[in-house]
Amino acid sequence: MAEIKQGYHGRGGCAFHGALWTVSSIRNLTAVVHSNAGCSAQGHLAARGAGIGFPELFQTPTTSSIDRHVVFGGGSRLREQIKNTVKIIDSKLYVVLQGCESAMVGDDVTGITREALEATHPVLCSLVAGLHGGSRFGYAKVLSDLLGSVGELKGLAGFEPDIGQESSVNVFGVVPVTDPHFRGDLFEILRILNGLGLSANIFFGASDGVEELSNAKQAKLSLVFSKWGRQPAEKLLESADQAVLERSCLPVGFEAVKALKDAIAEKLGECSLGAGAQSFLESERVRQERLLEPLDEWLGEIVGAPVALVGDESAITGLAKFLRDRLGAEISLAVITDASDAGDMWDRSEICDQAETYEQAETIEGAFVCAAQESGVKKFEADGGAGNRNDETIDQLAARVHRCGDGAEISEILTKARPLVVLGGAPDEAVAKKLGAGYLNVSFPSSEIVLGRSFVGLHGAVALAEKYASEVFKALDFKEASAALKLVGS
C-alpha cells in the first residue's frame, strides 16, 4: 500500500495562462485578452516551459487595462479591442479571455462578446480568470466553454452546418504546455487511433482545430486521458449522445495500446474498429519487441533501479507502468504536480474555517498554521470513474506518492527518497545532479527543447527505454554497478 502525502500548490501557472495556452494551441483560433498589460507576456514566457513555447503568444491582442478600467469598468476598452482585432488579425474564430481585474470588477464580457457575435463577427468568450485556479483547470474550462458555444456560430462564414468531416473520437485530457510533449503525444495518439481505423479530433496541432471543435459533437466517443478532460467531455454530453471512455493514464508501450484498443472495442463494439486494427496491433507488438530486444541483455543490470517520477498524474502513471512492467524499475516515489489546480482558494478557506483559524490566517504565522493543516486534509480523486476499467493507479504503482507542486517541498522529498533516476521537470534536474542520480525530462517545465517528442505509444516507449537505460547506466558507475545500486537503493 502506497503512503500518500497531500500538498497544495500546483506546478504550471494560473487558470488564465492555461486557457491562453489552450486557445493558442488551436489553429485558426485567436485569443483576445481583456487584462492588464503583462498577463499575456507572462503567459508567453511561461509557455517556454513546454520546451519551445509559442512565438505567436507574444502578439496576442490585449486590452492592457489600467487603473481607470478597474475604477470605471473596462467594457468599452474591450469593445474597442475586439473591433480592431477582427479587422487586423485574420482568424477563423476569436475567443475573449478575461484577466483577474476584469473578473473582480465584473465587466460584462459575455454581453460585449454577444454584441460582436450579433454584428456577425465570430467571437466567443470564456470567463476563466487567473484567480480561478491553475493552468490545467484553465484548459478544462476554456475547452468546455468553446465546445458549448461553438454552435452559436452556425450560419456565419466558415461555420455552415455540417461542414467538415465527421470524426469518430474526441481526445481530451492532454493539456497543452503543462504536458510539454502534448504535440508529440497527440500525434502519436492520432496515429494509434488511425491505425485502429478511427478518425479523431485532437484539437491541438490539427490542421483546422476550429473545425474539429465544431465537429466534436458528432463523434461517437470522447476519450479522456486525464481528469482535466472530464469537463469538456461532460459538456458535449449535454447536447450529444456519445460514449465517454476515461483512462487513468496515457498509453505507453504496446501493452497499454492494446488495453486502450480493448477498452474502445468494449465501448463502441469490435465492429467500430477498422478491418486492419488487429494487424496494426500485431505490427506494433512486433516492432516494439524487435526494438527493445537488444536492451534485454542489459536488463539484469538495471532491474530494481529505484526511480522517482515528478509530473502530472496521467503522464507519469503511464510512464511508471511501462518502466515497472517492461524495464523492471522499482517506482519508489511519485510526486503528482496537478493534484490541486482548481479552486485552491476555496479549499484553503474551507480548511481555515474548519480549524477556526480565521484570525490566525490573517497573519503570516497563521498562514503557516493553515499550511501545516493542509497535509492530509483532503484527498483528491485521482481516478474518477475507476470502476469501469482495470488500470492501475499511481497509488498502486508507486511505493510512496506525494501530491504537491511546491519546488522546495519536491526537492526535499526527492532528496529524502534518494532515487537512482529522476524523471521530472527542469527544477528536478538540479536535485538529481546533487544526488548523483540520472535525470530524464518528462514533465513541465521542460529543461530541453521539445518539438515532437513523446513518450506515448510505441515510439514513445522506445524513446523512453533508450533514455531511461542510458541514465541508469550513467548513474550506476558502470564499474561497480551492483554495489552502487545496493547503496543508493538502501
Binding site: 487603473d67 478597474v70 475604477v71 470605471f72 469598468g73 465587466d107
Partner: protein
C-alpha cells in the same frame, strides 16, 4: 479652535443612518468656531457635502478623472458654508467598475494634488460609504490617511451590525498603523431604550459614546433648505447638540482599538435585547429586568 497639525477623521456608519448629516454639521460647527475644515465625501452617491454648499453642483474627483483631463484642485472642490472646503470622490456608474478602487484612486489623487499642503486644514473629515464592504472602503482607516475613526449608529440592529464590522476592520488594521476608534456617535435617538442599547453595545466592545443626537425635525427642515442645522438654526437646541459633538471630537485624544463581537454572539445579544423590550412592552415584572 485651531491646531497646527491637521487632524484627519473618518466617519463611518450604515447607509442612511445620518452619517453625512452628522459629518456636515460637525464640519460646520468646527468651521464656525474658527477651524479650517475639509470634508471629503467618499461615497459614489456624492451627496455628503450637499448641505454645506447649498446643493450647488460639484464635479466629483472620479468624474474629472474619467474625462481624462488633467485634474486641478479647483475643478473638484468648492468652498462651502463657513469656509468648509467640500470635495466628493464620486464613483463609477452603478453596476460597473469598482467603487472601492475608485475611492482609493480619488484619495491618492487628492494627495498628489497636495490638497492638504495647499489648504492647510485643521480638520479633514472623510464621510465614508455605509458598511466596510471591501478593502477599498477601508482605505481611509488603513493606509495612514486618518488616525481616528468614528461610527454613527442608531439603536437598530443592522446599524450596530455595520458598526461592529467597522470595529473588525479597525481591529485588523490598527496594530499595523491604521486608524483607531474615537467613539460612537449615537444618532436618531427616539425611544427611551435606544440609548441603553447603544450604551450596552459600546460597553461590550470597549468604546465610548462621543455624543448623543436625538431625532429632530430641525435636521429634516435644514436639509430641505440645503443647509446644515448650524447654518439654518444656529440658536436651536439641535445646533447645540452638534456643537457639543464637534467640540468633543476636536478635543478627544482617547483613541482605542475596539473588541468587535463575534457574529453569532452579536445575534444572541440582539435577541436578549428583543426579549427585554418584549418584557417591557407586556409589563413583565422580573428581577434585574429594568432597562
Amino acid at each position: 479652535m485651531t491646531s497646527r497639525k491637521s487632524i484627519h477623521v473618518s466617519i463611518y456608519g450604515k447607509g442612511g443612518i445620518g452619517k453625512s448629516t452628522t459629518t456636515a454639521n460637525i464640519s460646520a460647527a468646527l468651521a464656525v468656531s474658527g477651524a479650517k475644515v475639509v470634508q471629503i465625501g467618499c461615497d459614489p452617491k456624492s451627496d455628503s457635502t450637499n448641505t454645506l454648499r447649498g446643493n450647488r453642483h460639484l464635479p466629483t474627483v472620479l468624474d474629472s478623472m474619467r474625462e481624462g483631463k488633467k485634474v486641478k484642485l479647483e475643478d473638484i472642490s468648492v468652498v462651502g458654508f463657513a469656509g468648509v472646503l467640500c470635495v466628493e470622490s464620486g464613483g463609477p456608474v452603478p453596476g460597473v467598475g469598482c467603487a472601492g478602487r475608485g475611492i482609493n484612486a480619488a484619495v491618492t489623487l487628492l494627495k498628489e494634488l497636495k490638497l492638504f499642503e495647499e489648504f492647510k486644514p485643521d480638520f479633514v473629515l472623510y464621510d465614508v460609504l455605509g458598511d466596510v464592504v471591501c478593502g477599498g472602503f477601508a482605505v481611509p482607516i488603513r493606509d495612514g490617511i486618518t488616525d481616528r475613526a468614528y461610527v454613527v449608529t442608531s439603536a437598530d440592529f443592522m446599524a450596530l451590525y455595520a458598526a461592529n464590522n467597522l470595529f473588525k476592520a479597525i481591529n485588523k488594521y490598527a496594530p499595523t498603523g491604521g486608524a483607531k476608534l474615537g467613539g460612537i456617535i449615537a444618532n436618531r435617538l427616539v425611544a427611551g431604550y435606544s440609548l441603553s442599547i447603544i450604551e450596552d453595545f459600546a460597553q461590550k466592545t470597549g468604546v465610548k459614546i462621543l455624543g448623543q443626537v436625538p431625532r429632530s425635525i430641525s435636521v429634516s427642515r435644514a436639509e430641505l433648505y440645503g443647509k446644515t442645522v448650524i447654518e439654518d438654526e444656529p440658536d436651536g437646541e439641535q445646533a447645540d447638540v452638534y456643537r457639543l459633538v464637534a467640540q468633543r471630537l476636536a478635543e478627544n485624544q482617547d483613541l482605542v482599538i475596539p473588541n468587535p463581537i463575534g457574529t453569532n454572539d452579536l445575534r444572541s445579544w440582539a435577541r436578549d435585547w428583543g426579549d427585554r423590550l418584549y418584557a417591557q412592552e407586556i409589563g413583565l415584572v422580573e428581577e434585574m429586568a429594568a432597562i
